[in-house]
């Protein structure tokens, strides 16, 4: 019998594991995917080898790459980009750690309070979450991002719009700024040299500006795991959970088992209440089934998997909100072509952003050629110059929105990857019950039971969501033009689920939420959710990981208090940074 079982080692799960391991609890982390213990021996930085969603080493599937990826049904033009393995989808992520907008919390009284998704606010205040945000910022650690040419260009565009510069962490007005990133800043030769021989740790520390964020971070060469620049959880929280005795007094290292696919959550009636008791998991390699019991079960398998696991386990769903209310920031892509190089895709994936509270945000993004070509062919507006699929919005971009393909794509890319500046639109989108995860009816169940079906409406969004997205796409085009682009294209992405939130949302009302304000299931006691699916809403548009991890830290405290009689610590203690040398030394001793 364990104290706590955590399902999933992505952005959220390892946070609970690390916090409770530090308190001496016996924590088991079960991760369905691989553990890439030695990236230098297993990875490359090539796009297909890394990112191919079916065969890449960063994909949603088992360790053995000759076996199929795990299938999700998508009954519309769309794509879900999730990764299995230690680090989960943070292996792909860009480490952007903006705070959520205060307007999405229930203590907000600003003049624009009514402009947010007020039906689905967080059931507590921003002020309550703030210390947890600061705790995660110190742990990751988060820092003001350095500039490269693509950021300089983006800022030039923002300056041309006359927007103010944000010089605080919390966003309170329409403004622009360098990102707050969970990326170690460049020192030594990092960022100052392209000579491979000079870019070894410790001569180089922090981000080397390689431009490979999407393909997983293993730089600088020779750095210990917890000193890799990008703070995906395989580099930050997981090492801390596994070495808790080295840096926390009374800490107990968590146990991590990978290729361990949880297929069932068990619950039984105790004291008249349905209570979680443990899980069954399947070893991907041996195909054997195992059962483990625990006092508390924490689900952190991501927004798509949690509802599936819940429904496959036959857990109660009294208000039918399991899987409902998925938000995705209804992303869009606007790209500008410049006469001169603007640094794409060098440097951190994204180091600049603009925010428009109650509407959403924009960020510049650098991506290598295959992903860029993918991004420009992912549209709900047909093919530029040929058909618009009933959409093709027009605005301050050239021609109607749509895919750039064939000769046009070639001309655009032709020796000019460095001359493209791309901006992602992050819409503050409303929680809508129709956007949901259900179990697929296709006869395609894998060895883990019926697969999830992710139903996202590309067009039938609320008026507020649609207006926000149009507003932001226009601002994006203006920023790019203001920076000096000769041509600007809007793609009008179909739903591309990179940021997926709120499929098992917490809320103030029993009618439209799965979790109470402690992130505990309303229907099953002792069952908590600690990943992006627990978020109450889309946060207003800011990237979800910081808030998810802050909430998971708070959830760890709630678990410790309710089930183990302990005291909260975030208000009282100082956080340990994940680069702490004690962690490095212990990882070395463990051969990690």
């Amino acid at each position: 019998m364990r104290d706590v079982i955590v399902v999933g080692a992505g952005a959220g799960g390892p946070v609970v594991a690390k916090e409770l391991a530090a308190k001496g609890l016996d924590v088991l982390v079960l991760e369905a995917g691989p553990r890439h213990a030695d990236p230098r021996a297993e990875w490359t930085s090539f796009e297909n080898d890394a990112n191919n969603p079916l065969t890449g080493f960063l994909r949603l599937g088992p360790t053995d790459r000759t076996r199929p990826a795990w299938f999700r049904e998508l009954p519309q033009n769309s794509f879900v980009w999730q990764v299995s393995g230690v680090g989960g989808t943070t292996q792909h992520f860009y480490g952007n750690y903006p705070r959520p907008y205060p307007g999405v919390f229930d203590d907000y009284t600003g003049p624009d309070a009514a402009a947010y998704d007020i039906q689905h606010r967080f059931p507590f205040g921003f002020r309550e979450l703030l210390p947890y945000l600061e705790w995660v910022e110190a742990t990751a650690p988060v820092a003001t991002a350095a500039m490269g040419h693509k950021e300089q260009t983006f800022f030039r565009g923002c300056e041309s719009l006359g927007l103010p510069v944000q010089t605080t962490k919390t966003t309170r007005e329409a403004s622009y700024r360098p990102q707050q990133n969970a990326v170690l800043q460049p020192h030594g030769t990092a960022g100052r040299s392209a000579d491979t021989d000079l870019l070894h740790y410790p001569r180089a520390t922090g981000c080397t500006f390689c431009g490979y964020c999407f393909q997983g971070c293993m730089r600088p060469v020779g750095a210990p795991r917890n000193q890799y620049a990008k703070r995906s959880t395989d580099n930050s929280y997981v090492p801390m959970a596994l070495t808790a005795d080295a840096w926390a007094r009374g800490g107990k290292p968590s146990t991590l088992i990978t290729d361990a696919y949880v297929t069932r959550i068990h619950a039984e009636t105790r004291n008249g209440k349905l209570t979680a008791s443990g899980v069954t998991w399947k070893d991907n390699t041996t195909e054997t089934e195992h059962r483990e019991d625990a006092r508390v079960v924490v689900l952190a398998g991501g927004c798509v998997e949690n509802p599936r696991l819940w429904l496959n386990s036959g857990l109660p769903n009294p208000n039918d909100w399991v899987g409902r209310g998925v938000t995705d920031h209804f992303l869009d892509w606007v790209v500008g072509v410049f006469d001169d190089p603007v640094g794409n895709p060098k440097g951190v994936g994204s180091a600049a952003r603009a925010d428009f509270p109650s509407k959403g945000g924009l960020e510049n993004v650098g991506v290598p050629p295959a992903l860029h070509a993918f991004a420009m062919n992912f549209s709900d507006s047909g093919i530029h110059g040929h058909y618009a699929n009933g959409r093709g919005p027009v605005g301050p971009w050239d021609g109607p929105a749509g895919r750039l393909t064939g000769p046009m794509l070639k001309d655009l890319m032709s020796g000019r990857l460095e001359n493209l500046l791309s901006v992602v639109v992050l819409t503050d989108d409303d929680v809508q019950p129709e956007n949901r995860v259900v179990r697929s009816g296709l006869p395609l169940g894998d060895e883990h039971g019926p697969v999830p079906k992710v139903q996202m409406w590309g067009r039938k969004r609320t008026r507020r969501t649609l207006e926000n997205r149009e507003f932001l796409a226009r601002r994006a085009a203006e920023v790019i033009r203001g920076a000096g682009a000769k041509r600007v294209y809007r793609i009008d992405w179909a739903p591309l689920l990179l940021h997926i939130q709120s499929s098992m949302r917490m809320g103030g009302s029993e009618r439209d939420s799965v979790l109470d304000s402690d992130a505990q299931s309303r229907a099953v006691r002792g069952l908590y959710i600690a990943d992006t699916s627990a978020l109450a809403n889309a946060l207003g548009g800011p990237n979800p990981t910081l808030t998810t991890q802050a909430l998971a830290t708070r959830t760890a405290e709630k678990i410790f208090a309710e089930h183990f009689g302990g005291d909260p610590w975030v208000y009282a203690d100082n956080p340990v940074v994940s680069t702490d040398p004690r962690i490095t030394v212990r990882l070395g001793q463990l051969g990690l």
């Binding site: 090539f46 796009e47 297909n48 080898d49 191919n52 079916l54 990826a69 049904e73 009954p75 519309q76 033009n77 769309s78 794509f79 820092a143 003001t144 350095a146 500039m147 800022f155 510069v165 605080t168 962490k169 700024r177 707050q180 960022g191 040299s193 392209a194 491979t196 870019l199 080397t208 500006f209 390689c210 730089r219 600088p220 060469v221 050629p369 295959a370 070509a373 993918f374 420009m376 062919n377 047909g382 093919i383 040929h386 058909y387 699929n389 009933g390 895919r403 393909t405 064939g406 000769p407 794509l409 070639k410 890319m413 000019r416 990857l417 697929s440 009816g441 296709l442 006869p443 079906k453």
Partner: protein, 292 residues
Amino acid sequence: MDEARTWDRRGFLTRIGLFGAAGAGGLLAAPAAAAPREPIEDVVGLLRPVLDELARDTMTGLSVFVCPGPDAHSVAQGTRRSEPGAVEAGTPRFLLDALNKFMPLPDELLRPAVAALVTALSDAGVHLPILDGLPNVVATLDKALAKLLQNNATVPLPVVAAALLNLVATGVKPAAVAGPLGSPFSRLSFAEKATVFSVIEAPLPDLVAVLDVHLPQPLKASLSGLLKFLGGALLEFAAFGSYSEFAVFDPVRRKLIARPVGWTLSGYQPDGPVEGWDEFLGYYQGRQEVRG
């Protein structure tokens, strides 16, 4: 509705490109096809490579739609380019690989899908010029295909995708059932190929209705949804593959054996893979830390 469901198998086989491909593959000249009393198994055996070839040719036509080059398929669509394109980047094989790995379609799902597709599309009043003169072998091909489907619980997705593109292609341009190159889709111009995608992305309301009517919940919208998903995915994957290192990556040594076409086209990594760049320009307005 019942009337609409009756459809012409000969027309179907011709339109997915099978008849033309079987001719090109020498299948129609094979004794089994010429003499329908011979064991159908012989035709089944011959049919598999023909289907594979049909899928390969169709995927080539798709690849150059996204990234044209100097090859015959690019010429055929009217967009010849002097610099290398998708064929040189290995995109057709990339797509076949991806579709094979994505998922095989269970026959039980495919049958109603095919029936529905053909019903809806044959209503569009397409006249196939060469159909009238076809020999009886189409009946044999039809039987062989049925047999092949029966023996396999699933149909490879490349064949399904190719059939879909070709079926719609012959709706856009009936004359594409015959001609040079190995598939109707590959015989279209660039603009006609774009029209094929416009049809797939916004299927006729009738088609959606028929596709979904055949299936109860929770399969509702699964087939029409899959069609839309596939329409998008084919283009995105072709783009991704064309600009990636797929064709020149040695998975054992985890190294490139040549410079990827997509890198040459885009100017990516001019001197090969790097560990970093001298791209650090300091901090905006000199600010390295913010609070509050």
